[in-house]
Subunit: 233 residues, 2 copies
DNA sequence: CGTACCGTTGAGCAGGCTCAACCGCTGTGG
DNA sequence: CCACAGCGGTTGAGCCTGCTCAACGGTACG
């Protein structure tokens, strides 16, 4: 059943992401939606396509990207478990979406979802908090990409992925091994860098003994050093 | 009374911004809120301050910005009539806000607003659409700032301001005179450029006979040329 | 009239982009 | 079984453009 993850607008005392939705609400969503499982690299929808569904991830990683007139590809966001995706405008998706890992999500028909939200005001409020959360995250990403130096951007990216990693760890700061299921090219398209720059930035972080990279895993060697580099924006 | 402006998620047939909120809903908001008028440059709230209010602009321009540890200042957004601002996380504002022009807004107490939204599901839906709209705009801004060339960024900025300008013109593309009430420094902090680069970019747009700048007004000389420069991202 | 602020312009520097070569791995077809 | 192409990734050389530092002009205000 679908879940949602969001930091609340108002203070709730705990600084952990609040798990939204009651069991009853999750059941209602599961009832109107369809559970779908897809293999890696599978396209989910294309920009300008009719936006008939909103998607709620339960497992895996999805990328949301946009192809620009020039042919450049920008990745707006990576989506994880308990995230929503399927942003649209005037009935058409503004981005394309594609599975990165094997992914499981609930496919929710928009019109029925809207009716459900209008009937269940508490659940609609959870969705409002979720979208508000995404707006904050988008601002944070904008600040990250604002940095001039590639190493700093990549450092922030690793920290961001660490925050999204399995929350089984008691504290996000204790996470040392960060899975990076996306390719270098995806990271570049997300950070607004060339993929060569990402590669060089990774080499620099290793040279500075902050993070090591192997395959699709980043290992944080010096959390304090990484944090101070991130704070230097 | 407050209004909201948003492009809907679903197709409504018209591509104009849909004016949200019924008269009754606007009255309800005016009842719980306070109408406030401020002179230019007046601070409204500070980042990390207790987030007790959400604001709905009826007239004027506001900037929402963030001071980074390094001392750099980033402008996340400019807000216009029929915009909401006051984004918070865990009960504290994530940005600071300051009036640019003389501004009038409704100051809505968050807790009462939430209660009102939970009671009036249709109005809550309008707010959900508004935040969704802002999320799309944030993605669009991210793409704008992604550009390498300063002239292209400034061109997109002028087009963005034209879209926000008085919608008295029948078509946004017909707007030639675009007020830019913010300083060059504000534009630079918004676009992620140095203010010298903004100045040089303005000079280049004038040299290319696309836009002329005087005081706080941009005059679009060659709309087609400007559009093609913008599309070249 | 001096000061402060906004804005413009110039010189030199630095960091990221482009183009290009190269490595290792994988899947394919002769 | 091997040759080859394709893809992801790394590294190097040189260029380009935006940043920094600096000087200067115009305007508003005490």
């Amino acid at each position: 059943m679908p879940r949602l993850r969001a930091v609340p607008y108002l203070d709730t005392g705990s600084d952990r992401d609040t798990v939204l939705l009651t069991d009853r609400q999750r059941e209602a969503l599961a009832t109107i939606g369809t559970r779908v499982r897809l293999p890696p690299r599978m396209p989910i929808y294309r920009q300008q396509g009719a936006a008939n569904w909103v998607f709620a991830i339960t497992e895996g990683v999805v990328k949301s990207y946009r192809d620009l007139p020039s042919g450049k590809r920008v990745i707006s966001n990576f989506l994880f478990a308990r995230d929503l995706f399927g942003l649209a405008e005037n009935g058409v998706y503004v981005n394309s979406a594609q599975a990165i890992t094997r992914v499981t999500f609930y496919r929710l028909p928009v019109r029925e979802l809207i009716q459900l939200l209008k009937r269940d005001s508490e659940m609609q409020f959870q969705f409002l908090m979720k979208v508000t959360h995404e707006l904050r995250e988008a601002q944070r990403r904008a600040i990250m990409v604002n940095r001039r130096d590639a190493a700093g951007r990549l450092a922030m990216f690793v920290a961001l992925m660490a925050a999204h990693a399995d929350t089984t760890a008691a504290d996000a700061h204790d996470i040392r091994d960060v899975p990076l299921p996306m390719t270098r090219s995806d990271i570049a398209a997300f950070l607004g860098l060339s993929l060569e720059s990402v590669s060089r930035a990774a080499a620099e972080l290793e040279r500075r003994a902050l993070v090591t990279f192997e395959h699709h895993l980043a290992h944080i060697v010096d959390p304090a050093g990484l944090t101070s580099l991130i704070a230097a924006l």
